[in-house]
Symmetry: C2
Subunit: 152 residues, 2 copies
């Protein structure tokens, strides 16, 4: 069985997980209220907007999102219904499916980004000094490399 966290680790973990939960709830609530997008929608739009040709295979997208295949299928089906994404067969493999960002999806991202940025600055980034920025970048880049090995 894993050893209990010591006092410093416990303080760090609780502050991190509870504050991150609160921050994500705020980001999600503000996005939904003002744009109708969820954080998962927003994340898919960002990932597709940065991909070559604005398209990714469903399996690649699942890797970026750290979603199971069934969860990414559910997410993309919902976004297809809203016109943000379309699905099409992979050009080099007739059996595979790609998710492709639509013009409406790009427009939704462009409209939502300034609002999202303002929340990110106001609730998180503007409070950090340069040294803290550097430590967080280092720690969370390592974390991402462990949790998402296929795409790091």
């Amino acid at each position: 069985m894993a050893e209990p966290l010591d006092a410093g680790q416990q303080t760090c973990w609780r502050a991190y997980i509870e504050s991150s939960w609160a921050l994500q709830t705020r980001l999600e609530d503000e996005l939904r209220a003002r744009t109708g997008l969820s954080m998962a929608d927003y994340h898919v739009l960002v990932v597709l907007s940065e991909a070559p040709g604005h398209r990714l295979r469903m399996g690649e997208l699942a890797g970026f999102m750290v979603f199971s295949p069934s969860r990414v299928t559910y997410q993309i089906t919902s976004m297809v219904k809203r016109g943000l994404v379309r699905k099409q067969s992979c050009p080099d493999d007739g059996r595979g499916q790609e998710a492709v960002l639509t013009d409406e999806g790009m427009a939704a991202l462009v409209a939502a980004a300034p609002l999202h940025l303002a929340t990110v600055r106001d609730s998180f980034i503007d409070d950090l000094d340069d040294a803290e920025i550097a430590v967080l970048a280092r720690v969370f880049t390592r974390l991402g490399a462990r949790l998402r090995p296929a795409i790091s």
Copy 2:
């Protein structure tokens, strides 16, 4: 309009939000697969287990969870159906409602905690040195104080 993030801030934010998303997805998937609990369930169980008398008013619980009143009502209704929590009238105010941890809820928390701890250590805490632990504790304690002012 908010100023765009500079390169260092952008690296920090993307690493933080994407890795935190991946970590929470892993924690949620492992908890659900092995205990049937969601992270929201787990969080409610932790918060109630630490409250005096294992009980909190619905509004206090919403504050801890950073949930809207309707979202906390939905969450608690689901947990009542599964026997993890019960609702009862506040002793000092017949109109208010409290959520109270049941014996089954405490047993579910005790059963899930070692699994959750192992994931927390393996995927996050064991990778951090003492200086990183201290910086994260400081940054996220400040973040929590801003996002959850009523309970900090």
